[in-house]
Amino acid sequence: MKALQNLFDSIKPNFEKGGKWEKFHTLYEGHRTIAFAPDLTTKATGAQIKDATDLKRVMITVVIAMVPALLFGILNIGHQHFMATGEAATWIDKAVFGAISVLPILIVSYAVGLLTEFTFCVIRNHPISEGYLVTGMLIALVMPPYIPLWQVALATIFAVVIGKEVFGGTGMNILNVAMTARAFLYFAYPAQISGDQVWTYLADKTAVDGYSGATALAVAYNAGVEGVDAGEALAQHNASIGADFSFMNMFMGWIPGSIGETSTLMALIGAVILIGTGVASWKIIVSGFGGAYVMGLVMNLFAANEFMAMAPHLHLVMGGLAFGVVFMATDPVSASQTETGKWIYGFLIGALTIIIRVTNPAYPEGIMLAVLLMNVFAPLIDYYVVKANKTRRLQRATV
């Protein structure tokens, strides 16, 4: 490692004040601190020792928690493809096929995102923050497998610049950056990110007879429109080729959908990692699922159509709810920051998701908008929690 250190040392003068690449100083520091934890020491006064955990480690924990969802997503893209085209394939074929369609999206997301981030850091002379490690992965995981790469790039630039950098960079953003990217695509290029055709990557093959690429949410929604039992409709969907939307299939994630969102199980594995390491708030995750379930029950009470009458536990495994609640809602920067606020914030995300899903024909998936909406309202929730704290203090003074 001495050699690498020497290499860094040898190019260092170029980046120091007066050096020819002085402007790119922050890039130098950024790369050096990734290779080597820095040799900074504590100040003469104040805490003389510091905790061994830094933001890099916190962020990498989130990335690792998403790896099961990524790997499953890759496999599932292949699985869906071969099932739709009716070809026989081994698991290895499926994984290879999935990797070929997913990895370019992941690479574009990271490459474009980091480049945007670096550009801003250089212009503003900010240190490079590790927030994008997580965002880059998240953006890829919420994309459909069919998405054109230039759209991924465009959405990433939009999200990083408008969602984050204009507010001052990592830690300052109001909206979840990855959700901003997805929302951008959803409204700018709806054809590539909604409907029945985009969730299964067919490449140039044609689907077998009787195959429908609709998502579980679309099927359930149509059941509501047509007045057939939603649970029944889900169970019968694509049943002829063994790709039905039974609870188990949806829980495992063998269904069409965005790359990383389909498997509730993988999201829960991620949740276990995040909660076990203390990186994400268990309160948000628990109240998020709770809010969705409760709102599902409320919908049952009205039961104006068959979708509303659907058993609430099915809501928990459909669409991107689990992925969104575990990985998106828990983003500490855009979430509520008070402990009481986290309960309210999570609950409302779950509840809103179901409301949007069930009642709004234009947006079959509600989690994206629910998270973004609650991102906006999180400061308001916190405002009241903080106000309660101030009031307690004030009342104490007067009695």
Binding site: P38, A44, A47, Q48, A52, I60, A335, L394
Partner: protein
């Protein structure tokens, strides 16, 4: 009246290098220093001595023009060898070359049964012990003109490697009691002695009279007087309470009973890099060279006056701080570590359990150096500070209010209730590596002076 409080939030930092409960012998120091920088809130110090003057222990050597009644006195007798100033003539140190035998200024014994409050205040203010009396809010030296609502003494220290107060004050029972008696005369309210509820009360603290005894238990910062006050009778806007540490109480007692400023105290020599660790009898402001040089296990070290959370880096030739009851020596951490942010480890101490941070599996003692383990970042992770601050305060919001210099918010969010030491653990656990103690002081200064 007395309360028992169990605290759950907090974190005990378990370090290598605890002091053995035994006295160790070292050659006494020859030079001593009074450092005006030790005294928070000192505004315009005026020096009363010149280089070459001889002083006795208890001779005033400077005072603050903003609070003239309080005199800062020499801890030993001898010759003033240097009045050290820094940039803009800021007074840094007044160094004294000590006599072999200490001569004391006769300050006169104090008969607590006869003396009135005003005279007592004046005697304490002239006797060198007044700076031990700290005012809350703000954590500055108490103003003799004020009368506090109550006085609080925390009889135990939960900081890392902190000295055992019962051991330090052994044999000083009479002085300790006299000090408390003097304090009871200073307030119409109560004097609270807060003792460690986890330990069976040592004879020293359980036999104390005339005060309210409260028991606190739980992890650090249970021993912080600010946390204790919050659970006994929280400070509101307009309130004024005083706090004194037990060593200060004893020195006040010595002044009362013997009529002299006796600044001798027992301090703990701690830290992983010292070979001989234990307790040593010394005097406030002593040079630390004799305790450290020749007593080291390695070469690249940092000497800290005080503990690792709130102490101050001093040089090997530096001096013990006025308020400090321990010296800690730990390794300096100015090294780079390949992928140090990623490597799994059980030997690096962390409050967190992020991937690879396995120190929670390690129940042993940790050897910690001064490396920051990362660069400064904006606040990202939420809910961490709350876990180590056992007070009904929203630390993140308070810190942000200070950043924004929002006076109303600072007040309303509880800046009156905390000082640096209360957020020291927040500063330690912060993955974004912000200097929160410095931040809190800057907020307090905004509230105080503008």
């Amino acid at each position: 009246m007395s309360k028992t409080v169990k605290l759950r939030k907090g974190f005990d930092i378990n370090l290598v290098g605890k002091a053995a409960k035994e006295m160790v012998e070292f050659a006494p120091a020859q030079t001593f220093a009074v450092k005006p920088t030790d005294f928070v809130g000192l505004q315009r110090p005026k020096v009363l001595v010149n280089e070459g003057d001889t002083v006795k222990a208890g001779t005033p050597i400077f005072f603050d023009k903003a609070m003239e009644q309080v005199k800062f006195v020499a801890p030993v007798s001898g010759e003033i060898i240097e009045v050290k100033r820094g940039e803009k003539r800021k007074l840094l140190e007044i160094r004294i070359l000590a006599d072999k035998e200490i001569a004391y200024e006769d300050l006169g014994r104090i008969d607590l049964s006869k003396i009135d409050r005003e005279t007592l205040v004046d005697r304490l203010a002239h006797g060198g012990v007044w700076p031990h009396i700290i005012q809350r809010p703000f954590g500055v030296i108490a103003n003799p003109a004020d009368e506090p609502k109550a006085i609080y003494v925390s009889a135990f220290d939960t900081n890392p490697l902190s000295p055992d107060m019962a051991f330090v004050l052994q044999g000083q029972e009479a002085y300790f009691q006299a000090g408390l008696d003097a304090l009871t005369k200073l307030t119409s309210g109560k004097v609270h002695l807060n003792i460690n509820g986890d330990e069976q009360g040592s004879s020293l603290f359980s036999q104390v009279k005339n005060v309210v005894i409260n028991r606190f238990s739980g992890p650090h910062p249970a021993g912080n007087v600010g946390v204790q006050i919050h659970h006994l009778d929280p400070i509101n806007k307009g309130d004024l309470v005083w706090t004194v540490n037990p060593v200060g109480v004893t020195q006040i007692g010595k002044l009362v009973l013997e009529g002299k400023y006796d600044a001798s105290k027992i301090i703990a020599l701690t830290g992983s890099e010292l070979s001989k660790r234990g307790y040593v009898k010394t005097i406030s402001g002593s040079a630390v060279t004799n305790y450290v040089k020749g007593n080291l296990q390695s070469g690249h070290i940092r000497v800290i006056s005080g503990n690792v959370l709130t102490g101050e880096k001093i040089s090997m030739e530096g001096y013990l701080g006025y308020y400090h009851n321990q010296i800690t020596v730990i390794p300096e951490g100015d090294y780079e570590e390949f992928l140090g942010w990623l490597k799994p480890t059980t030997s690096k101490l962390s409050f967190h359990k992020a991937i690879g941070m396995l120190s929670f599996l390690n129940k042993g003692e940790f050897k910690v150096d001064t490396n920051t383990h990362g660069e400064e970042r904006p606040f990202v992770v939420s809910g961490v500070f709350e876990k180590v601050l056992p007070m009904d305060i929203l630390p993140t919001y308070l810190f942000k209010a200070i950043h924004a210099e929002d006076f109303d918010e600072m007040e309303q969010l509880g800046l009156y209730e905390i000082i640096e030491e209360d957020v020291a653990l927040c500063e330690f656990v912060d993955p974004s590596k912000n200097d929160l103690q410095e931040l809190v002081r800057s907020g307090i200064e905004l509230l105080m002076y503008s």
